[in-house]
Structure formats: C-alpha cells, structure tokens
C-alpha cells in the first residue's frame, strides 16, 4: 500500500466520476425499472410510483425458488469437493517428493488452459455414458478437480515452515494429522479467497449447465434466467429486470459487503 496519496486533478476527477456514473447506469436503470410498472419503463420518470409487482410476477412466472435451490446445491457441492480434492493434491505436490511429480504437476496445469467448457462435446458423451445427464452432480463433476485450486494450495502449503510440521511429528501426529492440524488452519486466508472465486464462478456459470440439464429440477439460476429472459418468452421488460436482479442479488450483496476481499480474491485467481 502506498503511503503518499496524490490528489487527482479536478478535470480528471470529473471524468472519473462521469465514467463511474456511466458504468453503474445500466444496473441502476434495471433497478429502477424493476420497481416500476412496465408502462413506466418506457416513459422514464424518476419518481414514479414504486411497486413490488414485478418481483411477485417473476417469482411465479419462472420456477425461481427451484432454480435458487439448484444453484445453492451446485455451488455448495462443487466447493466442498474442490476444497477436499485440492487440499489433498496440493499437499502431495508441496510436501511429497514422489516419482513423476513434475510431470504430474504439468499435466494438472493443462486444465488452466483447457477448461471444461471448451470440451463440451466429449464431456457430454462421458456424462451420457455415466448416466449423469440432467443431474446436478453432472453439472459439478468436471469442475471438482480444479487445477487453479491445486496450484493455489500447493503455493500456500509451500510457504508454511517445515519446522512446524516436524514439531507436530515429534508430538506423535500422523501425516493426515499434520495436514489437518498444521497446514489447513494456516491456509485459512487462501481457502477464503478460493471459496469466493469458486462460488462466484459457479453461481454465474452458464454454458455447461445449459448443455447438461434439461429439466426444472436441475437447472441452475443462470439457465433459468436465460429461458425466462429470452425474447420468445414474451415476458415484459420490467419483470425480466426484476428476475435478473433477484438472480444476481445474493452475489451482488456479498460483493458490496466484502468489496476488498472480493477484488483481492479475483486478482489472485487471475494471476494464478
């Protein structure tokens, strides 16, 4: 963090504000439209009568409660599996000098470039063979072993001093005991950062869930939203705005509350 802050010149301050207003405008407009009747959406009046009708309609037009439930199950399941798998694999790469380690690590990193959404055709065929088409497990499975997560855990575990491990071993801790009592607690900030990125990613993910699901019982929010918002559905714009806001609100509220943490986590995810 810098100690000395420079004051931005006045003209640039004005430009920065203008851009900020412009940047938030689409969302602000959707927000405004969601609370006003459809007729008003096309006749902009900042202080028109407020209504919650659009939210009520959106909630009943599309099976939103079910989509919410599906997304929550999906996000929780993927995160839980990722935390376990990436911890174990990251620990192996950080602390065990096993034969073929470097080759194996290289093969793990391949997934950073070849993400599951690129391999939709073959992964669909695999899921069909396994009988996982149209299941929430089928949506989550390709993402559970995350190269980014493994890489992140490996880097974190490598920074933990070996002396701590040795001390625990002297006290009679088993290998898994060391992982659970020494490494995992010390990596807590990394887990938090990873969880934020993973939850945001899977809350927003669309292409693969669209392909692998075909019923209300499995479709997550994004897929439900796409069907609901498609022009063919004939739903009016105020209701679509309301539905869209409902779908994004949990993440949006979390972001507003924990801005700094979100930005730092997203950055870590980008840099890798």
């Amino acid at each position: 963090m810098r100690v000395l802050d420079r004051q931005l010149p006045l003209l640039e301050t004005a430009a920065a504000w203008l851009l900020a207003v412009l940047w938030i405008a689409p969302l602000a407009y959707a927000f405004w439209a969601a609370f006003h009747s459809a007729a008003m959406a096309t006749h902009f009046d900042l202080f028109g009568t407020l209504t919650l009708d659009n939210f009520r309609k959106a909630w009943t037009y599309a099976p939103f409660p079910r989509h919410f439930l599906n997304t929550i199950i999906l996000v929780t399941m993927v995160l839980a599996a990722q935390l376990v798998l990436c911890t174990l694999a990251g620990f192996a790469f950080a602390r065990f000098d096993f034969a073929g380690r470097n080759v194996a690590f290289g093969l793990v990193l391949v997934q950073l470039m070849v993400m599951p959404e690129v391999l939709i055709v073959e992964n669909y065929l695999t899921m069909a063979k396994l009988g996982f088409v149209d299941t929430i497990l089928g949506i989550g499975l390709p993402y559970m072993a995350s190269a980014f997560g493994i890489f992140l855990m490996r880097q974190t575990f490598k920074t933990i001093p070996r002396e701590l491990e040795d001390a625990a071993r002297v006290e009679g801790c088993s290998m898994m005991g060391v992982l659970w009592r020494v490494y995992v607690p010390l990596a807590r900030p990394t887990y938090l950062a990873y969880a934020l990125v993973s939850v945001s990613y899977h809350w927003n993910n669309f292409l693969w869930p669209l392909i692998i699901t075909n019923s209300i019982n499995t479709r997550p929010l994004t897929v439900g939203l796409a069907i609901f918002g498609a022009p063919e559905s004939g739903v009016d714009w105020a209701v679509i705005s309301a539905g869209t806001l409902m779908a994004v609100s949990p993440l949006l509220v979390a972001f507003l509350l924990f801005q700094r943490q979100f930005m730092q986590s997203f950055m870590q995810a980008g840099i890798k």
Binding site: R2, D5, E12, T13, A16, W17, L19, A20, W23, P26, L27, Y29, T42, V84, L85, L88, A89, F91, A92, F93, F96, D97, F98, A99, L107, V110, M113, P116, E117, V118, L119, I120, V121, E122, T126, L141, P142, A145, N204, N205, F206, L207, I211, T222, L225, A226, G229, I240, T244, V248, L252, F255, L256, Q259, F262, M263, F266, M267, G270, I271
Partner: protein
C-alpha cells in the same frame, strides 16, 4: 513410502482431471478423424475428411473472422479503459471507494444477466438507445438485427463487463511502483502525461501483456451472451467459434465435425498458453 503417500493423495483429483480434461481432449482429436456414427451407419475412420470439410465451410471462416474482429475490437478498448480507471482510483479523489466499486461491479454479474439488461437498450423503438435517439430526431434502428452494427453492440457490452476486472491488475501493479520515482520526476519538472508515457506505462508492460493474453483467452471462451442476444445471427454475423461448436454439436448433432472445430479451438488456446508461458519466463528476468 513417500511415493505411495504422494500418489495416494493425488489420486482422487487425478481421476477427475484425467476423466474430464485429458481424456476428452485426446478423444476430441481422435473423433475428428472419424465420421459421426448413426444407428444405421456406425462411425468409421475418414482420415482428414472432416478437416477438408472445415476448410470448405464458409461459416467456419466467418466465425473465425468474427472472433478475431471481436478480440481486436474489445481488447485494446478494455485495456485502455482499465488502465485509465486504475490510474484514477489509485490517486486521491472524493468518493474513491464508490467510484472503484462502480467500475468493478459488472465483473461479478453473470454474462446472462448482463445480456438480459443490455437487450433492453438495444431493442428497436422501445429500447433505451432508440428512445434517446428519438429525442434528437434520429430514426429507429434494429441494432442487433443489422449485420453491420451487431458486433459493435456486443463489443460495447463486453468492454463494460470486463474493463473493471482488468483494472484490479493495473491497480495492484501501480501500488507496487516505488513512490521515489514519482518524486524524482516531480523534481525534474516532468508533466503528468510525460511521467505516464515514459515511466508508468513502460513499468506496467508486464501487466499489460498479462492482461492481453487473458483477454484474448476470454474472447474465445465467453459466448453466453449470444444465447440471449443474437443466437449468432443475423446470418452468422455475430457467431463465435465456441457458439458454433455448440450449434454443430447440439442443434445439428454433427458430433465429429464439432470435435474437428474443437481441435481448432484447442490449438488456439495451446498457442496462447505458449505465449503466456514465455511471458512468465520473461517476467522472471525483469525482477
């Protein structure tokens, strides 16, 4: 013992990685040399026939051109805006946290939601853009239905969505620059623009290259908005490679041809991986 333990810990992740990354990547390549099997005609080896089909497919060349045009249109704009945003919020200005939040907010929205919101702006006549245009006496225009404007519309929306994300990388890089540099420049009487051009921008080069590679990868990966806004139309004017793969595989059921297209996409991603890897090597030398 270490061997056994290491592999044992790795096994669960390895099974999933092989099953959903390595196996499908190899299977894609193999499938591209076979015909699509049907009930009456099982799949058989056809050599390079799928690739010959690809070379003669005008839609393939069009989606590739679209992808390049899309990348060329969105990437420099997003990067320039991201840099500008980062420089602004790195300095002191009233309501800085609010400004930074406004820039970053589109990043956390799903692309599908973004498309839903922007669809209304682009709708002819009742859409926001046409409403504003009407005030100035301009005629209504079908922004997404016209092949000459559709890509620009999608590009504007994508820049809006991505600039804030790239901003945070520049912001981190700016904060790691030493304040002495700036003091020295001030003593020498350098103007703000001169300082940016000769000091800040060159020092941010590794960040720019990094963002550039990531933005390029994103431009090949992100097609969610097409499902809502255009479905690749009109007449494939806004179609992109990954969306075309989806269409070929899941609307036309030409699995083998979809695999052939996927091989092209994988090759492009591999090429970018090599570029990125070399950049990382270079960056080590800088430090």
């Amino acid at each position: 013992m270490r061997n056994v333990y290491g592999w044992l810990l790795l096994t669960p992740a390895a099974i999933l990685l092989i099953g959903f990354t390595h196996y499908p990547a190899v299977a894609t390549l193999i499938d591209s040399f076979f015909s699509t099997g049907t009930v009456v005609r099982p799949s058989r080896f056809v050599g390079l026939a799928n690739y010959a089909l690809l070379a003669d497919d005008p839609i393939f060349w069009q989606v590739l051109r679209n992808n390049l045009a899309f990348a060329a249109g969105t990437i420099p704009t997003s990067i320039a805006l991201a840099l500008l945003m980062a420089i602004w919020v790195n300095d002191k200005l009233p309501a800085r946290a609010l400004v930074r939040m406004s820039y970053f907010t589109p990043t956390i929205l799903p692309m599908v939601a973004v498309a839903n919101l922007w669809l209304f702006f682009y709708t002819p006549q009742i859409g926001l853009i046409d409403k504003v245009a009407a005030v100035f006496g301009m005629p209504s225009h079908n922004w997404l239905g016209d092949p000459s404007t559709v890509m620009a519309c999608l590009a504007v929306m994508t820049v809006w969505k991505e600039a804030g994300f790239f901003m945070i990388f520049y912001l981190a890089a700016l904060q790691s620059l030493s304040p002495e540099l700036e003091e020295a420049a001030k003593i020498e009487g350098a103007s703000r623009w001169y300082y940016f051009r000769r000091v800040t921008f060159p020092l941010l080069m590794p960040t720019t290259l990094f963002v550039l590679v990531n933005a390029t990868i994103n431009s090949f990966k992100l097609v969610d908005h097409l499902f809502i806004l255009t479905k690749g139309g009109p007449d494939n004017a806004s179609n992109l490679l990954l969306y075309y793969i989806y269409q070929v595989a899941f609307s036309f059921f030409e699995t083998s041809y979809a695999s052939t297209l996927t091989v092209v996409l994988l090759a492009l991603l591999a090429a970018m991986a090599i570029v990125q890897f070399q950049l990382i090597e270079k960056r080590v030398h800088y430090r």
